[in-house]
């Protein structure tokens, strides 16, 4: 096996670095998020707000008309409340998701740039590009899922709250709860997809960072 001493180009002396199990990346990603709680929470808030907005708009768009027609039928109220303009709504939702995407991407990018020394050092210690990539994608996905879930809860509360405020508690029994889980599930999918997409570029930047970044002194 060890054929050293031949003076040739050291064949067999250098091996190839092994891949680490995903669980190690998960562990380090969670640790990083816990320690950088402030930054994590800021990113989280962006996601929560965007997803709450999405869920609220989506829900009231679905629930509003149902409740309104029900109430109209019972002659509880005159037809008031905003009529829903479909295209404007799509536009608003798209915009909020875009803001969310850019916000997360920007937060992750800042986090990558701040951690240049840490990333460079890990590379010096033998971390592979793929490991660093996983670290940042995972971090972003964890934030994304957590933020989306909080956002959905907030969105549902807001939608129902607004509905009740607008049509009085008479609206409460009329809410078609059956449709709500599906909207929430779809929102969860969208939120996770967006955070994963937002993490791509920053994570790629981190993975491509040279080990020499460990030596850089200035920020």
């Amino acid at each position: 096996m060890s054929k050293s001493g031949s003076g040739a180009v050291g064949s067999g002396q250098v091996q190839r670095q092994v891949q680490l199990p995903l669980s190690k990346a998960v562990e380090i990603a969670l640790k990083s998020m816990r320690v950088r709680m402030g930054r994590s929470i800021l990113t989280l808030i962006t996601i929560v707000m965007a997803m709450a907005f999405l869920t609220e708009v989506w829900l009231s768009n679905r629930l509003g008309p149902v409740i309104r027609t029900e109430l109209l039928a019972r002659e509880h109220l005159k037809a008031h409340g905003p009529s829903v303009d479909g295209s404007r709504l799509v536009w608003l939702i798209s915009l909020s998701l875009l803001v969310c995407l850019v916000g997360i991407s920007n937060a992750m990018l800042m986090s990558v740039m701040e951690r240049f020394r840490e990333i460079g050092t890990m590379k010096c210690l033998g971390a592979l590009d793929s490991f660093i990539l996983k670290l940042f994608v995972l971090e972003s996905i964890f934030l994304g899922v957590a933020g989306t879930i909080c956002g959905i809860v907030l969105g549902v509360v807001l939608a129902v709250g607004i509905m009740v405020a607008r049509y009085s508690t008479a609206a409460w029994p009329l809410i078609p709860w059956g449709g709500v889980p599906w909207i929430c599930l779809a929102a969860l999918g969208i939120g996770t997809a967006i955070t994963a997409a937002a993490a791509m570029y920053p994570a790629w930047k981190a993975a491509r960072m040279e080990p020499i970044a460990a030596m850089r002194v200035e920020v």
């Binding site: 680490l20 950088r36 210690l125 033998g126």
Partner: protein
Amino acid sequence: MVMAAKPAGSAAGREEIVRTIDVVKEYRMGDQTLQALKGVSVTIYRGEYISIMGPSGSGKSTLFNAIGGLDKPSSGKVFIDEVDVAQLDALELAWLRCRKIGYIFQTFNLIPVMTALENVALPMIFGGMLEADARDKAKLILERVELGHRIDNKPSQLSGGQQQRVAIARAFANDPAIILADEPTGNLDLNTGKAIIALLKEMNQERGVTVISATHDLKMLDISDRIFWIRDGEVEKIQRRDEVTIDAGEMH
């Protein structure tokens, strides 16, 4: 296993561990080119303690990066243990950095979110060692650098000297053949710096590891086997320790 194949240790066994051939490093800035290294050819033998001495901006770190496989020279060759570093692919380079070389930095560079123990275990885990084994070994090395009582502390809870001890323990984690240190005492006060230098020397003798340290800390002179004096990207002279002490005296 590679080491055993060759007669090691004896004064005659001058086994090459690092060789640079005419290494040139240029930095391009706009239309200007700055030659940080102007053709450096040095040979370093297994078990030596080498200091690369020179004023700030003389090219010490650039040479450190070239030897450590951290940066590609513009021209010239670097051999580590007879392997041409330029020939290695990404996975082999990562293996080399992980197993063959231990790095020590001026700024300590511990991973801030990890405890001392986790920091020392990390290169072993990157090398494929089982978590439990890595932790056991990390504990032993931390005890060796007299930090057995601080293993669960985060870097922010440690003094500069203690952080550098953890960094030294981490550098030795995978039993590397070479320890590369760039200004390891640069951020430490006089006495802490002395203690770090002494520790590096002890580890060098105890483990037969080659230590290459870029520094302008004259305290390093006493313990170095050879000193490479570097100025403006060129090796000005190479001295053995016994040739140096007189010069050092004159410097004060």
